[in-house]
């Protein structure tokens, strides 16, 4: 029974830890499928996390915080889109700029507002749901029915995105924009507009991931609290070969690895805890090295589109 309890707790915690990464990975999948890589989602997550806390405290409602975070993330995405899609700037460079912009904005904003009081602020954050009053079921209760609303929303979005890519013409257009934009252009589609929208949406998802971190997982903001989760999300996308559902599954793997290492820290007090903290990142590097062999990235990823039309 102890093992079952441990496993149930591990899975429930793993899902909680995976949710921010999964949300960011869903967004990054959309953007990369359309041909734009966004390495700045870490920065967008931070802004999302900060804005979510700030508005939640001010409005007293975490949903308002989430909505504000999504708007802020979309705005950050639009900055990236202006530079990479409209001005055809180097996508990696723009992404790195976005990362530091987000890091600075969120830290500075935090010091200007919430950190002023000196004492910790009460954040009325998200609580776990109790779907169908089943969260007390042994083992599967907390795993399946006792998660945050955002977890279910993330799963729904991933499934919706997978369906959209596979079964709608919009999905075909996004894949064409990432693989061979000339074909979309010749078919009368607007490659730049489509990419712009996809990058904005990816920013919104990344910010929602940040909001989850600061209003559901922890109730509060700490500078640089994402600690590389944005980059883990990017590796999820690559590892999952640009498939949104698989990206969520990979994120879950990272989340469980994270939950496991926290438990290991208490089980093995003799080992320096840093060894455990790096575990998810080691998993990421090893899996990427194994998986990236022969993986097919969108052929036009990172390449600005210039139409031959005059």
């Amino acid at each position: 029974m102890d093992e079952a309890l441990f496993l149930s707790g591990l899975l429930a915690a793993g899902i909680r830890l995976a949710a921010p990464i999964a949300l960011a990975a869903i967004g990054e999948t959309i953007s990369q499928r359309a041909g734009v890589i966004n390495v700045g989602i870490e920065g967008i997550m931070l802004v999302g996390a900060f804005v979510a806390v700030l508005v939640t405290v001010m409005a007293g409602n975490p949903w308002a915080g989430l909505a504000a975070a999504i708007l802020a993330g979309a705005a950050m995405g639009a900055i990236h889109a202006v530079f990479t899609v409209r001005l055809k700037a180097e996508q990696i460079v723009s992404g790195i700029a976005l990362l530091f912009l987000g890091l600075g904005l969120s830290g500075y904003g935090f010091r200007l507002t919430l950190a002023q009081g000196g004492s910790a602020v009460q954040v009325p954050g998200f609580r776990e749901l109790d779907l169908f009053a089943l969260s007390d079921l042994p083992f599967i209760g907390p795993v399946v029915f006792g998660q945050h609303a955002l977890v279910y929303i993330a799963l729904f979005c991933a499934a919706g995105l997978a369906w959209m890519l596979a079964s709608t013409r919009l999905g075909l257009m996004i894949k064409a924009a990432g693989d061979y934009p000339q074909a979309l252009d010749a078919a009368g589609g607007d490659v730049d507009r489509l990419r712009f929208v996809c990058v904005v949406v990816s920013g919104a998802f990344a910010a929602a991931g940040g909001a989850f971190l600061s209003t559901a997982q922890l109730w509060g903001f700490v500078e640089n609290m994402t600690a590389g989760r944005g980059f883990l999300a990017i590796s999820c996308v690559v590892f999952a070969r640009w498939n949104p559902l698989a990206a969520v599954a990979v994120a879950l793997g990272f989340g469980i690895a994270d939950a496991l290492q926290i438990r290991m820290q208490t089980s093995y007090p003799g080992v320096p805890y840093q060894f455990f903290v790096i575990a998810p990142y080691v998993v990421a590097i090893v899996s990427l090295a194994v998986a990236s062999k022969g993986s097919r990235m969108p052929a036009a990823l990172g390449t600005p589109f210039v139409s031959q039309r005059q």
Partner: protein
């Protein structure tokens, strides 16, 4: 629609002029296409054919003059408007997304489907109906990258005709087809014509003009120089109009050269390259060709025929050292693919020259000067680089000398190579690759997209190389070119290799059967 009879042209260009900077691409073009008419638009590179196509497909707007559809002036400012006007275009470079299926590619080209759910079943039925009336069976479900070019072209044609099309423009459609597929395409064109659809066929080949066209319009230097029914024209006259200058003797020689059968020389025994039981896979992992065994001797031209996409590109990449074979082995000039060090650099040093099929990707660096591009192959020559330092003077002298020898037209060796026309770029690549006595020359589609004069030049170079004892491996989708040049012929089709057969022991029909994937000519 009716009332005015067939006299009303479907599409007409009136005094259309298009300039790019100071270059005049089209000069006061007058052109009419009648309903159910097949019009051949011919001319050398840079004659202005593609500019006309781009204006009709909504990619470019004319600077002067106007375009009329059904007698009404129209402004084709976007591809969508061109489609709405009933104009369908199959571009020379296909606009298919390689990772999508044929059906999905067709759906992509149908903006009227909006953004929502695709009803693939209903679309499949509609597309099949179109394909059937055209007599073009095609593979709707395989990803396009796994199909050969003939299949891809069918998807392009169906894609263009899924909308109501009254004028279909085919840009160099036969350049990539084998004889069977070519005959099939011509049958489709005739079927379209019978239904009243007009066709503009853009081509380099005299054979195509006389096979299907009703009328030929010849362009030279951006202007129409001839416009006549094909029954009133002879091949000599067409070439004469294309090359201009009234050089009747040369024109006749070029026209005759297309049908000339050359006596094959006897291969000498020295083996330059030996391929044993080789398997090659496409980038998507499917087997392109397997069980290929072939020896290349000095002093012969071995040609690989077949529809593009059956392993020809992969073969060239392997022998050039850019890829490893997926099975079997190659030995070439003392190197072996089974040992370590099967690299492009080592093979080049051993004497392999490579004229790649995708010049822009693997032949030249567009942003660099001609001189620097020359260095790409000769970066290890002590007279050009000493102690890691470039000897610019010597490099410019050598590059300039070679360019003169090969007739590369350029203002100077400092010029960026992408400012040159495709034909001149190709001559430059030949000048560079044939420098330094190579022993094996890999020539992939060496004359694709070139004009008739340049093609003759390239052919003569390859023949001279052969006569000088070099080994030449030629890949071409142009069967006439292969029949004219090759001493031995191999055909890649349907995952296997046919031959090699000696040129003088095999007929055009037999090769055609091989290209279609049959072991012998059907009764």
């Amino acid at each position: 629609m009716s009332g005015q009879g067939s006299a009303q042209p479907v599409v007409a260009l009136e005094g259309v002029t298009k300039r790019f900077g100071t270059v005049v691409a089209n000069r006061a073009i007058d052109l009419v296409v009648h309903p159910g008419e097949v019009l051949a638009l011919v001319g050398e590179n840079g004659a202005g054919k593609s500019t006309i196509v781009n204006m009709l497909s909504g990619l470019l707007l004319p600077d002067e003059g106007r375009i009329l559809v059904d007698g009404e002036p129209v402004a084709l400012t976007s591809p969508a408007l061109s489609v709405a006007a009933g104009i369908g275009v199959v571009h020379q470079h296909f606009t298919l997304v390689p990772t999508l299926s044929g059906l999905d590619n067709i759906a992509l080209a149908m903006p009227e489907l909006r953004f929502g759910r695709l009803n693939r079943k209903a679309l499949g039925i509609a597309v099949d109906a179109t394909a059937k009336t055209l007599g073009l069976p095609f593979d709707a479900t395989t990803r396009v990258e796994g199909l050969d070019v003939a299949q891809q072209q069918r998807i392009e044609i169906i894609k263009a005709l899924i909308h109501k099309v009254r004028l279909l423009i085919l840009d160099e459609p036969t350049a990539v087809l084998g004889p069977d597929d070519k005959a099939h395409l011509f049958a489709t064109i005739r079927r379209l014509k019978a239904e009243g659809t007009s066709v503009i066929l853009i081509t380099h080949k005299l054979e195509d003009i006389f096979a299907v066209a009703d009328r030929a319009v010849v362009l030279r230097n951006g202007a129409v120089v001839a416009n006549a029914a094909t029954c009133d024209l002879t091949p000599d006259e067409v070439v004469l109009h294309m090359v201009g200058g009234g050089d009747r003797v040369q024109a006749r020689a070029i026209a005759a050269g297309e049908e000339r059968v050359r006596a094959t020389s006897v291969a000498r025994p020295e083996i330059v390259c030996s391929i044993t039981d080789m398997t090659l896979r496409r980038t998507n992992g499917s087997v392109a060709v397997s069980g290929l065994t072939l020896d290349l001797h000095g002093g012969e031209i071995v040609a690989v025929a077949g529809v593009d996409g059956n392993g020809q590109s992969e073969l060239m990449r392997v022998i050039a050292g850019m890829d490893m074979p997926d099975g079997g082995a190659v030995e070439c000039l003392g190197h072996s693919s089974t040992a370590s060090g099967w690299t492009a650099a080592k093979l080049r040093r051993a004497g392999v020259a490579h004229i790649p099929e995708d010049r822009r990707r693997s032949g030249i660096v567009g942003e660099m000067s001609l001189a620097r591009n020359y260095l790409l192959r000769h970066g290890e020559r002590p007279d050009l680089v000493r102690h890691g330092l470039l000897r610019d003077g010597a490099l410019h002298r050598l590059a300039g000398e070679r360019m003169r020898l090969f007739g590369v037209r350029a203002p100077g060796t400092d010029e960026r190579i992408d400012s040159l026309s495709g034909g001149n770029q190709q001559k430059f690549v030949l000048a560079r690759e044939l420098d330094g006595e190579p022993r094996l020359i890999l020539a992939a589609h060496p004359s694709r997209g070139l004009d008739i004069k340049t093609i003759r030049f390239v052919h003569r170079l390859l023949e001279d190389a052969r006569d000088a004892g070099k080994s030449v491996l030629l890949v071409s989708s142009d069967l006439d070119e292969i029949l004219q040049l090759a001493d031995r012929i191999v055909v890649f089709a349907g995952g296997r290799a046919f031959g090699p057969a000696r040129r003088d022991e095999i007929s055009r029909d037999e090769i055609g059967a091989w290209i279609a994937g049959h072991a012998s000519v059907a009764a």
